[in-house]
Symmetry: C2
């Protein structure tokens, strides 16, 4: 699994603003992780983030990467995407959207949510609410029958 190269970085100030908007205290490590993750719309695993950070010679421990990603996910700053079952991905695209999963390459592609219509949900009791709808379209090489 290769880590996408960094095309551009957001500034510390931009990262601070993102964290502030979600009520997260801006520590050195959290800012570094945010700058990396929000450099572009992407889907990264904890392992990829850890690897990239150490490549940038940022001093962040494994525990902090996991703690931070969990914190980001809880506050809604990033979205946890579960597809692989072996590994979680963290999605820096804040807009509601769905995913195309390429089973052969492992690549994950964003899909505009307008393409998918949730017609009607089964009647839920008033005490419960929909927290989110995850749609994953699995695609692969055409099966030559």
């Amino acid at each position: 699994m290769t880590v996408p190269s960094i095309t551009e970085q957001i500034t510390r100030e931009q990262a601070q603003a993102l964290l502030a908007r979600h009520g997260i205290a801006p520590t050195e490590q959290r800012l570094e992780i945010a700058r990396l993750l929000f450099a572009q719309h992407q889907h990264l695993s904890a392992e990829q983030i850890l690897a990239q950070l150490s490549r940038n010679s940022a001093r962040v421990s494994k525990a902090t990467v996991y703690n931070t990603l969990n914190l980001f996910a809880e506050t809604g700053l990033v979205r946890e995407v579960v597809i692989d079952s072996a590994k979680r991905f963290y999605d820096s695209n804040p807009d509601p959207h769905h995913h195309l999963f390429h089973t052969d390459t492992g690549e994950l592609e964003d899909v505009a949510p307008a393409q998918v219509q949730i017609a009607g949900l089964p009647g839920l009791p008033d005490s419960r609410e929909v927290l989110g709808v995850d749609v994953v379209i699995r695609v692969g090489p055409r099966h030559t029958d």
Copy 2:
């Protein structure tokens, strides 16, 4: 995580027919796993199956449970459902359908596919095809604002 109690078992012959239809050689262990899984429409993890089998004093190893579930999934006899990222579930409901996931209880509920409309998929190259569409609706206790 509790294991649903067995309400009814399918016969060995019914299990054999299921396996035969998917080109799977009917061994003792595979039949036991199939009888357990297809006793009803349900979603079980490997751990739950292993636990239930040993409770039934069936002699099946961990390796065989995993091998068998992978085999069942590859041949399309069961459907692998990934939600939790910590654990895979195997779905004995053969009909196309979606899932309601109760985040508080961990419960997984089937949803008729008619409720969800996939309007249009992004243009795929002719060389690739859609293998499946997984829709998971996450619900939980209403957030009291």
